[in-house]
């Protein structure tokens, strides 16, 4: 089964990214595929490359790098990103900036879309 994931909330402020991360790990462990993760609305802020959370806390930048290393595409909406300052020089190397068409392609190519 191929999942597409949409993330709408920013890092740390809301639990959305954390819930999505745990969902993605569980899906992979159960042998499913993640077709892609699309970051929209404030969700684009999860892909910021300059995060420095306290050492005793989870590091969302590193969690996303880990997902990317597993081959998962992390797609940052260019328009939502530019509004909020997520541009090529600030997006983490795990993130790939692209257009809204990619969100529709994710809907087409995935068996299931899930929003966090």
């Amino acid at each position: 089964m191929k999942f597409g994931v949409l993330i709408k909330d920013g890092p740390y402020t809301h639990q959305a990214m954390d819930s999505a991360y745990n969902f993605i790990l569980a899906a992979l462990e159960s042998g499913h595929e993640i077709q892609g993760v699309f970051f929209y609305n404030e969700g684009v802020c999860n892909t910021c490359g300059t995060m420095e959370p306290p050492r005793d806390e989870r590091n969302i930048k590193n969690l996303l790098l880990g997902l990317n290393e597993k081959g998962i595409r992390l797609i940052v909406c260019v328009a939502a990103g530019k509004r909020r300052g997520l541009v090529s020089q600030t997006v983490s190397c795990a993130g790939e900036i692209s257009g809204l068409g990619q969100l529709l392609e994710l809907c087409i190519e995935s068996d299931r879309m899930i929003t966090f």
């Binding site: 597409g4 949409l6 709408k8 929209y40 609305n41 328009a79 939502a80 257009g99 809204l100 068409g101 969100l103 529709l104 809907c107 087409i108 995935s110 299931r112 879309m113 929003t115």
Partner: protein
């Protein structure tokens, strides 16, 4: 897409305009999706129906009036259906004549039936 089956996607618009950006960024997505020749529906439920109110003028907030785009969604951007939930309108003291564009007004049961046909939901 030729012979291939179209993918049915429903935007579920549930938030009021201007207090948050969700309806504006939803419409930006709808406009982009138009080019892909899929089966795109938009359903306005809960506070989402407020986004369709006529006469919006956010100039005093320094914001852009994005509501005009609803009027051209179907013709210019090939959105298949614009549904509005009747109960949400009534609860907010609104009727069809308050809306900026022509829509299909459905009650909850009918809208829930439409949801059965969807492959994916995009809630905003």
């Amino acid at each position: 897409m030729g012979e291939q089956e179209k993918t049915s996607v429903m935007f579920v618009c549930r938030t009021a305009p201007y207090g948050t950006i969700f309806e504006q960024e939803a419409i930006e997505a709808m406009v982009m999706f138009g080019a892909y020749e899929q089966d795109i529906s938009v359903a306005f439920v809960d506070d989402g129906v407020l986004a369709l109110k006529k006469g919006q003028d956010p100039s005093l907030l320094g914001k852009k009036n994005f509501s005009m785009t609803y009027m051209i969604l179907k013709d210019d951007f090939e959105i298949s259906h614009i549904y509005v939930e009747k109960e949400s309108l009534v609860e907010r003291g609104m009727s069809e004549s308050d809306l900026i564009t022509e829509v299909e007004i459905l009650d909850r049961n009918a809208l829930r039936q439409k949801m059965n046909e969807m492959k994916a939901f995009l809630p905003f």
